[in-house]
């Protein structure tokens, strides 16, 4: 009686052996081959019982982040709104000065332009320092010195930059 080869036992367990019934008949009569089959089956079971390892990072992050897009935190939304409101206020305050300044800027040479800009800037600061709201007598407007005004403008610009930086970082 010919024993089953190792290859035949492998194919039998893989359900790839063509003459399966013949092999089963032999296995029922041959203790040696049956023992080899059991040993091989144990190996299969051991390989397949290997527990799964846990991941150390979340692989879905690129997909969820790409989709999340503009799900900004509340504080960031408030910063952006405040930034937009401040920009609007500054635009309203600056509009008359800018319209006054625009016709004056006609010098073709850079040095002239620079000097003109400088004088306009100084004049603008002077006007700002003495600026009142005459048309709104009921609203008490505080006197703002030119230094204070510059500090406020610098603060607003800084806020603006920080806000934009945060928005861009969140988009990445």
């Amino acid at each position: 009686m010919n024993h089953l080869t190792d290859e035949a036992l492998n194919e039998y367990l893989d359900n790839e052996l063509p003459n399966r019934a013949e092999a089963e008949l032999h296995l029922s009569q041959c203790a040696d081959c049956a023992a080899r089959l059991t040993a091989l089956q144990t190996l299969f079971d051991e390989i397949e019982s290997l527990p799964e390892l846990a991941l150390s990072k979340h692989l879905a992050a690129p997909f969820t982040r790409r989709d999340a897009g503009f799900a900004l935190p509340t504080w960031l939304k408030l910063t952006a709104t405040l930034q937009a409101a401040l920009a609007l206020v500054i635009l309203v305050i600056a509009a008359p000065f800018v319209t006054n300044m625009l016709p004056a800027i006609q010098a073709p040479s850079m040095s002239d332009m620079f000097l003109q800009l400088q004088s306009q800037w100084m004049a603008w600061l002077d006007r700002l320092s003495s600026f009142h709201f005459p048309s709104l007598p009921s609203i008490a407007m505080p006197d703002i010195s030119s230094i204070m005004l510059m500090l406020i403008l610098a603060g607003v610009s800084f806020l603006w930059l920080i806000g934009n930086g945060l928005l861009l970082r969140n988009q990445r």
Binding site: D14, E16, F44, E46, E48, L53, H58, T64, D67, A68
Partner: protein, 175 residues
């Protein structure tokens, strides 16, 4: 509320809802990582390749047959990504030499490995990469010899011989 089916998530992902694909990734990431880990036996590499597999599958999502299950298809993509990764690296013989050298340098660690699972992992890790791939496809992805041959583009006889030799080596190491 019932969780959406894989099919629903795939359809949504095809419409551009990337969060739907993110949910699929969350669902199968551990399984896919383990496919990669069993083939590569290196955690950072396996995580990178699992990520790569999900990226590749996302790009091919429109060609996925919705009548089939997503998980087996995804596992197959992962196995292929790992296989390509192995092919692009050093030749098999060098890998084996490195692994043998590494084992000879740390005999104490090997002795200390008591858990059977660890022993099996160590035995699998000691196999040449092309043996590990056929073991993965046969034992963990339950593919037939013919499917493995088609997947790896190798003759059927090679599938059989790789598988038998791999098991023989595993049996010797796990005695």
């Amino acid at each position: 509320m019932n969780a959406p089916s894989d099919r629903d998530l795939i359809l949504r992902a095809r419409r551009g809802e990337t969060d739907a694909y993110g949910e699929l990734v969350t669902r199968y990431q551990t399984n896919i990582f383990n496919v990669c880990y069993r083939i590569l036996h290196d955690r950072p590499e396996a995580e990178d390749m699992a990520q790569e597999a999900f990226m590749r599958a996302y790009d091919r999502l429109n060609s996925f047959d919705l009548e089939r299950d997503f998980a087996p298809w995804m596992r197959r993509v992962a196995a292929n990504v790992c296989l390509n990764h192995i092919s692009s690296q050093k030749p098999t013989s060098e890998l084996e030499e490195e692994r043998d050298a590494d084992q000879s340098q740390r005999p104490d660690e090997q002795v200390e490995v008591k858990e059977r699972g660890e022993q099996i992992r160590a035995a699998l890790a000691s196999l040449p990469p092309h043996y590990r791939v056929v073991v993965e496809l046969r034992h963990y992805q339950e593919m037939s010899y013919e499917e493995i041959a088609a997947e790896l583009n190798i003759p059927l006889s090679d599938v059989k011989s790789h598988l038998f030799r791999a098991r023989k080596l595993l049996a010797e190491k796990l005695k």
